[in-house]
Every structure is written in C-alpha cells, then in structure tokens.
C-alpha cells in the first residue's frame, strides 16, 4: 500500500477498501492534525476533529470527483469542520487553556541544543507569536495557517477555503499588517 499513488488509493477507498483509506489517512494525518491544532489550539479537539475529518471523508469519498488533489479535498473538509466547530462552540475564548505543550507533540529537535536561557526566550517568543496568530479573525487565520505553516500556495489555499486566489492574497496581506501591529516591538528589536 505504501508505494501506491494517492489516485490509486482513492479509487480503492471508493470501492470500500479500508486499508487503502487508512494509508491515505496515514499520509495526511499529521498535516491535517497540525492545521486543526493551529486553529483550535487544543490537542483533544484537534485529535477529535482530525478523526472526524477522515471519518467524514471516508463516508463521502464516493462523491469525490478527483478534480483537485486528495490533500486539497481532505484539507477542505478539515478546515470546514474546524471553522464550524469554532463558530459553534466559540472556543476562541478558552483556547489559552490548552496550548501546544502536551501529550503527543514531539519536542522540537532544535530545543535540545539550546541553552536554558535561550530555551526560555524561545518559549516566550513562541507564546507571543502564537497569541498574535490566535488574535487574527478566523478566516484570516485559516488562510495564514494554510499558507505559512502548511506551505500551501495561494491557489491551493483558495481551493481549500473555496474563495478566489485574490481573496487569499488579500487576507494574507491584511493578516500580516495585523501581526505587524501586534509584534512591532519584537520585529523592531533583535528578537533572539
């Protein structure tokens, strides 16, 4: 299964092959989880929503026309589910409770080589940057996370978010302007 391309696995999954679908999930699970985690800021919610994303995808895979890549399609499901979840529960208010430092997150490989002082500064910086991203309006945040953290192009992000490339470009610009205002003292200084 590991060597098959996405297209073949999708075809198999459409026929009800659970192993083929699980392989697809294995390939994209990490990126989906991280994207959801960036949006929800809560590991448990991210885990639940990632599971729900793949469950939903398996249920609907027969309707997947393969006009876009599987990853774009699965991203779209994940982002839509997460945005709905956030709107419904208004989780943004409680997001500070469970930040990134918990169970299954692997330690940053760089961290081991840093001195305690630098680790502390790094932690503070991460917190500041995370909070600044969290403060962005939901759709701006989604665009920013997909482009900056997940490395999607504007076109791919527009496919996921079902908007035009121009909208993604505009949201990125506005998000950067907002972040610049929040992080100006840090950006002006050394920051390290």
């Amino acid at each position: 299964m590991n060597d098959f391309p996405d297209g073949h696995l999708v075809e198999q999954a459409k026929k009800g092959n659970i192993d083929a679908f699980t392989e697809l999930a294995r390939r994209y699970q990490e990126r989906i989880y991280q994207t959801i985690l960036w949006l929800t800021r809560n590991n448990l919610d991210a885990d639940d929503l990632a599971q729900e994303t793949f469950m939903h995808a398996f249920k609907c895979i027969k309707d997947f026309k393969q006009r876009s890549g599987f990853y774009t399609w699965i991203y779209r499901i994940a982002v839509n589910l997460t945005l709905n979840f956030l709107k419904k529960r208004n989780r943004e208010k409680n997001k500070k409770e469970a930040l990134l430092e918990n169970f299954n997150i692997e330690k940053n490989p760089e961290k081991a080589n840093l001195s305690p002082e630098k680790q502390s500064l790094r932690k503070e910086l991460r917190k500041m940057l995370s909070e600044a991203v969290d403060s962005l309006p939901l759709h701006y945040r989604a665009s920013f996370i997909l482009v900056v953290f997940q490395g999607l192009t504007h076109y791919q992000a527009s496919q996921v978010l079902r908007c035009s490339e121009n909208t993604v470009s505009w949201r990125m610009h506005k998000a950067r302007k907002m972040l610049q205002v929040k992080l100006l003292p840090y950006l002006e200084g050394d920051g390290k």
Binding site: I18, E30, D47, F54, F103, N104, P109, S169
Partner: protein
C-alpha cells in the same frame, strides 16, 4: 506604484506568489522607499519566525494510534447515540399528541360547562312575579301560612320605610328580600293592599 500597492505585493512576494516582472518593479521601489523596505524586512522576519514555530511534529506512536483508532471506527461504525429519553422524531410525536390531548380536554370541558346546570345558574334572573307565584302556590289554601307571610311582608316593608339607623345599615342587605327594586311609594301601596286583604 504607490506604497499601499507595494505592501500588498510584498506580502505576495514573501509567499512566492509574484511574477518576475512585478518583483523587479518592487525591488526598484524598495531602493527608493525606506518605509516599504522596512516593512519588507518586517514581514520577511515574521514569516521566518512563524515557519520556525511550525517545526513541531507528532510522534510515530501517535500517528500509529491515530490510524488504528480510525481503522477501528471505519470497520465497526457506531450507531448514533440517542439523545435524551426519546429520539428526536419520537419526541415530536409525543409533543404533538400532548398538544392534541390538551385541545381535546379544553373542548370537552367547555362542552360540559355549557350543558350542565352551571349555565342555567348563570342565566337565572330573579323575577318578582315568579317568586310571588311560587310562594302563593306553596301557601295554597292554608290561611295560617297566608297570614304569616302577609305579616312578614308588612314587617319587612315597615323596616325599610322607617329612617335608617347605623345598625340597620349593617344588616340592610339581609332585608332586601323582594323590595330592592321598589320605590317607597310602591312599598306603601303594597302595604295598604295587604292590609285591605287581611281586613277583608
């Protein structure tokens, strides 16, 4: 190109979403405009720092666990749990039935109310003539009863005709047997008529 447009293009440039031609225009502008150059440095730095944050990954153990849980859910899908004591559909029917029962109960109550004596009681209007007729029927040929009734009427009229004292006012309502709608003159006339009849 104006600085605002340049700022927008700088954002695209950081994302690698800009044509060579536009990039050349931007670079040309940056050489002249210090504020745009500073902004360009800011957003580049911001992007680098943000990308640095993304280096966290999930462990292989978690990945495996995630896939195992997913596979188990796909193999043995759970039925949706029912909410509350009744499923939503049944609840609707229960509410509808309860509503219908309430309407039926109210209808029956009003029909019963209309058909029973309560209605008669409500519509009953006192009639002096009718009352007198009933009393005279009760008295019949009994002269003793007739004399007693006449003296009672006279006493009652006398009581009403005399000037009212405070004590009388307190018990006034009790004496309004038949005379509540009659004027004093009418009562005097009735009194004289009763006396005539008694004398005869």
């Amino acid at each position: 190109m104006k600085c605002k447009k340049i700022e927008r293009r700088l954002s695209d440039s950081v994302d690698g979403e800009i044509s060579r031609k536009k990039k050349a225009v931007i670079e040309k502008h940056l050489k002249k405009c210090t504020s745009c150059k500073t902004y360009s440095e800011y957003i580049q730095k911001l992007n680098d720092e943000m990308k640095g944050l993304e280096k966290q990954g999930v462990s292989e153990a978690y990945k495996q666990d995630f896939c195992n849980r997913l596979k188990a859910k796909l193999l043995f899908p759970r039925k949706r749990e029912k909410r509350g004591p009744f499923p939503a559909l049944k609840q609707k029917w229960i509410f509808a039935a309860a509503g219908l029962l309430l309407v039926a109960f109210i209808t029956i109550f009003f029909l019963f109310y209309q058909l029973t004596g309560i209605q008669d009681e409500k519509l009953y209007v006192f009639s002096f003539e009718k009352a007198m007729e009933e009393i005279s029927w009760e008295i019949g040929d009994n002269s003793e009863l007739e004399a007693l009734f006449n003296s009672m009427l006279l006493a009652s009229i006398d009581e009403l005709l005399k000037p009212l004292e405070w004590e009388d006012i307190l018990g006034y309502e009790e004496n309004l047997i038949f005379w509540e709608n009659l004027s004093e003159e009418e009562m005097r006339f009735i009194k004289s008529e009763i006396k005539k009849e008694m004398e005869s």
